[in-house]
């Protein structure tokens, strides 16, 4: 009897759906980018929801939708990040849920209703071969994930263990973690001296729009021109996620998950860890303002973000039988760029 590899079949797929895990660390000294999730907090919460054992690889969704078919006895998936419509075999479920699924069930995920990046965490992770210890996809160097590329319809994602989570209840967050309001917080530097007071004032007082030329590598921002006090070129040094580099154009670029390991533009400030996901969720055309905080305030903000995550997890409740099968909901599932709820 042939029992095909338990897997998830990608039936429909918007752009920018990739396999991600926490990231590929340890190789930046060789020029290898970590990749990993654009919104690390949402990713982490989704992983905690599914209670990942084994590897923690799951899917990151860009703004479009995704339809998966379960080709395994069972699978347990958690959904989080930017809010979307979610349905299993046409029946709606609340976003930020963890659901037990069985063979041939069809999971439909709509486009992002607000925000950009969402996550599907998978109990047991994915049965793909790690590259340098990680399944994170870096498409620019074709590393990790499935052949180092974004997913497309027809792909099969092998599960490591489709018995994980059998018998566990379907759960949902009573309330997803509230996002802090207000400007994106940054710690100045490490090359703030290359800008002087005027350049820093422009960064902190300006309103910035996310350019359409933004991607997983970096968010290009459009706004007033940031003046350099010194040359716009430095001898390359290392880069963290959230570094705000300013090339000669005076238009800043926030370096994100797929950034290069080193770079030669001065970095005026660094987005703090607590706010990097919030920045990532601002879509193209969205407005951003910045506020400078101290290193100590950045650590405090991180502690608060961690507390919000734990508070959200403490508020898990059973998925109620939903009566939301109304026309508005169905429309929201159907109006998906590149994805429809109908049969082919």
């Amino acid at each position: 009897m042939i029992d095909p590899t338990p897997s998830l079949l990608v039936e429909r797929c918007g752009p920018l759906v990739t396999v991600q895990d926490v990231g590929r660390f340890g190789y930046q000294r060789f020029g290898v980018t970590p990749a990993g999730p654009m919104d690390p907090w949402a990713w982490r919460l989704a992983v905690r929801l599914v209670g990942a054992a084994g590897n923690d690889a799951g899917l990151e969704l860009g703004p479009g939708g995704l339809v998966l078919r379960v080709e395994a006895e069972r699978a347990r998936l958690a959904f989080g990040g930017a809010e979307r419509a979610l349905a299993v075999d046409g029946r709606p479920f609340p976003w930020w849920s963890v659901l037990g699924l069985v063979r041939s069930q069809r999971v439909e995920i709509g486009p992002a209703l607000r925000g950009v990046w969402s996550y599907v965490a998978i109990a047991g992770g994915l049965g793909l071969s790690p590259v340098m210890g990680s399944l994170a996809t870096h498409t620019l160097t074709r590393l990790g994930g499935l052949e180092g590329r974004a997913l497309r319809a027809g792909d099969r994602l092998p599960l490591t263990d489709s018995e994980i989570g059998a018998g566990l209840p379907d759960l949902t967050l009573a309330a997803p973690p509230p996002e802090p309001e207000g400007p994106i917080r940054v710690v100045l530097g490490p090359q703030e001296a290359w800008f002087g007071k005027a350049g820093i004032a422009t960064l902190l007082e300006g309103t910035w729009r996310v350019s359409p030329r933004s991607d997983r590598m970096g968010y290009r921002l459009e706004g007033p021109r940031i003046e350099h006090a010194r040359s716009p070129n430095i001898v390359s040094d290392g880069i963290v996620m959230g570094a705000i580099q300013v090339p000669g154009s005076g238009q800043p670029i926030v370096l994100m998950a797929d950034r290069q390991s080193t770079g030669g533009y001065p970095k005026i400030a660094t987005v703090i860890g607590a706010d990097i996901g919030r920045l990532a969720q601002v879509g193209v055309g969205g407005a951003i303002r910045f506020r400078a905080v101290t290193f100590e305030e950045a650590l405090q903000a991180r502690a608060e973000a961690r507390a919000r995550l734990e508070a959200a997890l403490a508020g898990l409740e059973p998925v109620a039988c939903s009566g939301r099968l109304d026309a508005g909901f169905l429309l929201s599932v159907n109006l998906v760029s590149g994805v429809t709820a109908g049969e082919p």
């Binding site: 660390f25 340890g26 190789y27 930046q28 000294r29 060789f30 020029g31 290898v32 980018t33 590259v131 340098m132 160097t141 590393l143 940054v186 710690v187 530097g189 490490p190 430095i234 001898v235 390359s236 040094d237 290392g238 880069i239 963290v240 996620m241 959230g242 570094a243 290069q260 390991s261 080193t262 970095k267 660094t270 987005v271 703090i272 860890g273 607590a274 290193f295 100590e296 950045a298 650590l299 991180r302 961690r306």
Partner: protein
């Protein structure tokens, strides 16, 4: 009794956001600064500090990435600030790699032009390029792109005004006072002297990466037939070269 330091370094130790600490030893390309960076890199790695994920040494600075969920950034910052940064010592002698290169012709389309610019014959450029033992200053830009210091000053050549949108993987090139080995097909304004069949980066090989900051490199010329033979082996994930221990 202490050695008089010719140029004591006054490094800056600053937090970079809340997940990294930067140790900045200078702002220029300078062998002394890079040596100090590599010495610090070796020292901090040997400490095996809890929560430190990885270190990224560059020409002039060292970026220490840490996991803020595992260590308080203030503690790490204080710890790193206490290191004797002004006298980091000499960097450990790096491993020595011998890298085969097919020079000129289709392998190095700029060899003749570089020779003409400096009033040399092509063979003399090859001799000057294979003469020194280079030091790996840093690896970056893309996985495995290797920046080398130690180029013979007679070969210093400004970069092209108009960088080429793509140059072949394995290109062995010079740009300004630097030399390099490209791992992947990349855009480049450097002058292409030759190509090596060695893949400094191959994700399907163990180990995927070969050369590391602080390592030393020599080049040895090979003929096109040897290149083709070695290239076939490299395609089957043979690293081709192994380091002599330091």
């Amino acid at each position: 009794m202490s050695e008089p330091a010719s140029e004591p370094f006054r490094p800056r130790v600053v937090p970079v956001g809340d997940s990294a600490v930067l140790l900045e030893l200078g702002e220029t390309i300078d062998p002394l600064i890079n040596a100090a960076v590599l010495a610090l890199d070796a020292e901090i790695r040997s400490l095996e500090l809890e929560g430190v994920i990885e270190l990224v040494p560059t020409y002039r600075s060292l970026l220490v990435h840490y996991d803020p969920e595992r260590i308080d950034g203030r503690v790490l910052l204080a710890r790193l600030s206490k290191l004797d940064l002004e006298h980091p010592g000499t960097p450990p002698e790096g491993r020595l790699w011998t890298v085969p290169v097919a020079y000129g012709g289709e392998f190095g389309i700029d060899l003749e032009a570089v020779a003409r610019r400096h009033g040399l014959r092509a063979e003399e450029v090859v001799q000057l390029h294979t003469g020194p033992t280079y030091r790996v200053y840093m690896v970056g830009f893309v996985p495995g792109f290797t920046y080398l210091g130690g180029l013979d000053p007679r070969l210093y050549t400004p970069r092209l005004d108009d960088p080429r949108p793509r140059t072949p993987a394995g290109s062995v090139s010079i740009g300004g006072i630097q030399a390099g080995i490209a791992s992947l097909e990349i855009p480049s304004g450097w002058h292409l002297l030759g190509r090596t069949p060695v893949r400094t980066f191959d994700p399907e090989r163990t180990p995927p990466l070969l050369l590391e900051p602080g390592d030393r490199v020599r080049f040895v010329p090979i003929d096109p037939a040897t290149f083709d033979e070695l290239d076939r082996r490299a395609a089957a994930h043979d690293p081709l070269i192994a380091p002599e221990p330091a």
